[in-house]
């Protein structure tokens, strides 16, 4: 896939700006019945859309359609899968190239509509599409992909442009994680999955076994979070030392905003100074935020927060 990356971009960029498919004329002119359905659905009570008397005296001089209803006028309506496929534009297209290159998943990210005038009953729209831009390959939370900007132009019965829409989507190759998380029945995560590497594996293995392990350099210096090199003597040699789990609250913060899934809020985050002298960031549990005090004695505990996922947390030390 890497090898064809640049030719793919070249191919896609040759297609930008060119029309995609034939212009398509709306099945029905702008009409009061569809406007009314729309206003009922989103409970939009703006009288310029549905009250002829009010609309007459308004700045519009008569009924107008809600601008954000733009796309509805040229939607194809209910079609079978076969009909939809038969209508799909032929020939090379940016989206097809991306599909063929393995970027098979799609998610809409942005929609920008600009309106030149309000539409009135009787206006008959024709819509034409093109690809305006394709991004370089990007790494995103969902997977590696390309952002594609589609430009849609809406013209009236006189050929005048009345509105444009820019629709940005991400065509991506799903990562195993995003594919799995979207699958039905996947258990809800309560914490992000730890990113385990060569340097910190001992720590997470320890947690899984209910032990709090700290790196100790051969010079005797303890350190946390895990890293490859001793900050004092620069040795790469180290061993794992088990901490007793007792410590004190060195500092803490109660996070309220912005909420970041999958954490629960308010989120009580503590910096614990362990008896051994190193500090570690964790959650403090079974306590109200207002009860926390700097210097209070705490102790480690290991909770199974999800099936087979043990997490180090701290609680108030008893006695």
């Amino acid at each position: 896939m890497k090898k064809s990356e640049t030719p793919l971009l070249d191919q896609m960029r040759q297609l930008t700006g060119a029309p995609v498919g034939e212009p398509n004329t709306a099945r029905d002119p702008v009409n009061q019945a569809m406007i009314r359905h729309w206003c009922d659905a989103v409970d939009d009570r703006n009288p310029v859309y549905t009250d002829p008397e009010f609309a007459e005296k308004s700045v519009h001089g008569g009924i107008v359609a809600p601008p954000t209803m733009l796309q509805a006028w040229t939607m194809p309506g209910l079609m079978s899968r076969e009909e939809r496929e038969a209508r799909a534009p032929r020939g090379p297209s940016v989206l097809r190239l991306l599909d063929e290159a393995g970027f098979t998943s799609v998610v809409a990210t942005n929609c920008t509509q600009a309106y030149k005038r309000y539409l009135r009953p009787g206006d008959l729209l024709t819509v034409s599409h093109s690809i305006e831009a394709v991004s370089d390959e990007k790494k995103t939370a969902l997977g590696v992909g390309h952002f594609v900007t589609q430009l849609t132009c809406y013209r009236d019965q006189n050929g005048e442009e009345v509105a444009t829409m820019r629709f940005r989507l991400l065509k991506f190759r799903p990562t195993e994680r995003s594919a799995g998380a979207e699958r039905r029945g996947a258990p809800k995560r309560s914490r992000p999955v730890p990113s385990i590497n060569h340097d910190n594996r001992f720590f997470w293995d320890g947690v899984q076994a209910g032990r709090l392990l700290i790196q100790r350099c051969f010079c005797g210096k303890l350190r946390h979070p895990p890293g490859p090199m001793c900050p004092v003597c620069r040795s790469l040699e180290w061993e794992a030392a088990e901490a007793c789990g007792r410590g004190t609250v060195y500092s803490y913060v109660v996070a309220h905003h912005p909420p970041i899934p999958p954490f629960e809020y308010p989120n009580l985050i503590v910096l614990v100074e362990l008896e051994e002298g190193v500090r570690i960031v964790s959650n403090l549990v079974d306590i109200e935020p207002e009860e926390v005090e700097i210097g209070m004695a705490v102790r480690a505990r290991f909770d199974e927060v999800e099936p087979d996922r043990i997490l180090l947390q701290f609680e108030r030390a008893k006695g």
């Binding site: 359905h37 989103v42 939009d44 703006n46 009288p47 509805a72 979207e182």
Partner: protein, 141 residues
Amino acid sequence: MREPTRTTTLRYHQVAIGDELSDLTLPITATVIVSGAIASRDYQDVHHDRDLAVERGSEDIFMNILTSNGYVGRFVTDWAGPEALIQRVDIRLGAPNYPGDTMVMTGRVKEKSDGIITVELVGKNGLGNHVTGTVDLRLPQ
């Protein structure tokens, strides 16, 4: 006919940068999602057929983008009045609106120039931000 939310329109000089819009709290139901999809002639099954939506990897049916746009339009004119002219809607799409959730829309006036105000808005549900963006409105002088 339902009573209009308001019949008068804010004038340009009555609006200041930083003014907050009236919040809109929208309980998301299957009816809200399906009626929005059908009113926008969007018959994609993920917007009306729960079984197929789940089969395709979704938790449930979810609101289509056209309907989200519709609520954005309504949110700004419910506040500004019927003769505020929507010039531009620029939204970023995020967490889906599933039945059983609630979306709360909030907004404030971000910019003001030449008779046009720019409103910055967020529609937030239990999963995060469903929609964030800006709307340009032309207000009567």
